[in-house]
């Protein structure tokens, strides 16, 4: 690839210090993602997938290496600039949903619109997405009153409502039945194709991975190989 990717990772390492023990979560990751790509990241539990996402989104500081998002060096950014990055460029769907427990599903989505200074109304297109996700009639409920799968779909809606240039989705279908999973995957594929959003998706499911343009495999904090799909 001659053109620089929207995400560029070189020699990225991350070591967690747990007491006296050093946990090497990432041991030198190299990864390039072009604008508009849909990449699936697969790998065993503990291989460092979530850690990679947290670093890409500026939530966790890296130990060494270089990460560039949209041409900007992440390690050179201040905390405020990394917050700004999440506000304007990078959307998250967390493995653990991370919804605000005191707010209704609707307000959980609206608050990211508020934070990003967007208008706090749901456009018709987004309303359709809520229908598609099957949560349109659950919006007035608080997370406590929603099933795991429903919470996950609210988290997805929150992740995409501002149409971020980069969407980092950590096992977005992990808690969904095959029907709902298919709806979510089709939706992501559609956003990727229609809006040209760059999507990175962590998954354990081969079926889910097949929606991506490319599958990146991780093992023990390294990237094993990349395969291009034909679909």
């Amino acid at each position: 690839m001659s053109e620089a990717g929207i995400i560029e990772v070189h020699g990225l390492t991350k070591t967690y210090q747990v007491g006296d023990v050093e946990v090497h979560a990432l041991r030198g990751v190299d990864l390039q993602v072009s604008k508009g790509e849909f990449v699936a990241i697969v790998g065993a539990s503990g291989s460092g997938k979530s850690t990679l996402f947290h670093i890409l989104g500026g939530l966790t500081p890296m130990s060494s290496g270089a990460v560039r998002i949209n041409g900007r060096d992440l390690s050179g950014m201040t905390n405020a600039e990394r917050t700004e990055l999440r506000k304007t460029t990078v959307g998250f769907v967390f493995q653990k949903y991370n919804l605000l427990p005191t707010l209704t599903a609707e307000d959980n989505i609206r608050i990211v619109q508020y934070i990003a200074d967007r208008e706090m109304t749901f456009a018709p297109g987004f309303q359709e997405i809520l229908n598609l996700l099957g949560i349109a009639d659950r919006l007035k409920h608080k997370p406590r009153a929603l099933s795991g799968g429903q919470q996950q779909r609210v988290a997805i809606a929150r992740g995409i409502v501002n149409s971020p240039a980069i969407l980092l989705a950590d096992e977005p279908t992990g808690n969904l039945d095959s029907e709902n999973a298919a709806a979510v995957l089709k939706l992501m594929k559609d956003l990727n194709k229609r809006l040209g959003q760059t999507i990175l998706m962590i998954t354990h499911d081969a079926e889910a991975a097949s929606y991506a343009d490319r599958i990146v495999r991780m093992r023990d904090g390294r990237i094993m190989m990349a395969e291009h799909q034909t679909n």
Binding site: L100, D107, I111, I115
Partner: protein, 365 residues
């Protein structure tokens, strides 16, 4: 949107919210009650002095505005004063503070008093006749449940209630001057002298003339004296209010500090989520400060309402000695005090909140 979140947060922990509001309310009530009692008591005292009908107030050297504890004036002075130009009448009284409270007992000559201002208006009973007679105002009678003919022991002496008069003139509890002088071992002595002049508008120049002659004595026009009966001129009271406000602010600070500190701890994860979706430190601070402000304002409003409760209590439990006014001017002041105390309390928790590491916060259960 933020207000949504704030109400949701406060509503999510109703007990703690209520306790915080209540604590701030108690802080506010404490201050307002103290201020109200100070103003009320002083105003009443001013009003009673106005009711005396004198133009000049003559006091011994080195005495304070409130609290007449000794009787160092000779009872020859009124007669001397009456020989001064423009002075039409002078009457001395003796004041003996009663232990355990703000009340005092006044010894006076009821005929002189009547000459000065027309005398008391008796609601029941009549004036002092015998040496053991005592007359009290309606509030004191109500507070102590006294009726004409009741016996009351004051200054180690049993008095018989001869009359109950309408409040508002000089004192609340009066006995014969000679009786009080004898009882307290001060025969021939007075605490203060009230002077009436032919033209009240000239009171100031007469005071000036008297001051030249009676060096060291404290001589004021009545108006001057009444204007001195204010909180700022009563040093002890001013300091006392200062101390109570200080304590109240510290209490408010501690309560809010604890409430917001635990709120921040409990909400570690939520704050992490807000940051993870792009919420800035300013946003987090905004939420915490608004929440605190809301607590302080609710607490102040509740405190103001509670103050009417203490006012009712004062009126029905101790009507004579303590009068609590509603001092509207202090509502904004006390609200300001509560807000400042609360905002001070949230500073440290807020700093902790914005310093938290996001991923650690997200893994916080």
């Amino acid at each position: 949107m933020l207000n949504n979140l704030i109400f949701a947060n406060l509503g999510h922990r109703p007990i703690r919210t209520l306790l915080s509001v209540l604590a701030i309310a108690v802080e506010v009530t404490m201050i307002l009650t103290l201020v109200g009692v100070s103003y009320g008591t002083l105003d009443q005292s001013a009003q009673r002095n106005r009711g005396v009908g004198a133009d000049i107030w003559f006091r011994p050297p080195g005495s304070s505005v409130i609290g007449l504890s000794t009787a160092p004036l000779s009872d020859k002075i009124p007669a001397l004063l009456m020989q001064e130009p423009h002075v039409t009448f002078a009457m001395g009284t003796m004041v003996q503070p009663l232990s355990g409270g703000f009340d005092s007992i006044t010894g006076l000559d009821i005929d002189d008093f009547t000459k000065l201002n027309g005398g008391f208006h008796f609601l029941r009973g009549g004036p002092l006749v015998n040496d053991d007679d005592i007359i009290v105002d309606e509030y004191y009678a109500k507070q102590k449940n006294l009726h004409v003919g009741s016996t009351v022991n004051l200054v180690n002496h049993d008095w018989k209630v001869a009359g109950i008069f309408e409040s508002g003139k000089l004192a609340r509890i009066c006995v014969k001057l000679s009786a009080l002088q004898a009882l307290t071992g001060n025969p021939g002595h007075l605490s203060q002298i009230f002077v009436k002049v032919d033209d009240p508008r000239k009171a100031q120049s007469i005071v000036d003339a008297l001051k030249l002659k009676y060096k060291g004595y404290q001589i004021y026009t009545m108006e001057e004296f009444i204007s001195m009966i204010s909180i700022n001129n009563v040093g002890m009271l001013k300091n006392f209010i200062g101390v109570v406000i200080g304590v109240a602010v510290v209490v408010g600070f501690i309560v809010v500090f604890m409430a917001m500190y635990t709120a921040v701890l409990e909400r570690t994860r939520e704050i992490g989520i807000l940051k993870a979706v792009g919420g800035s430190s300013a946003l987090i601070l905004n939420i915490l400060f608004r929440e605190t402000l809301l607590l302080a304002l609710l607490g102040s409003a509740m405190g103001i309402v509670l103050t009417y409760g203490t006012q009712w209590l004062m009126k029905h439990a101790v009507p004579a000695s303590l009068v609590q006014e509603t001092v509207y001017g202090w509502w904004p002041i006390v609200t300001g005090i509560a807000v400042v105390g609360a905002l001070l309390g949230v500073v440290v928790p807020a700093m902790k909140a914005i310093k938290q590491d996001v991923t650690e916060a997200l893994s916080y259960e």
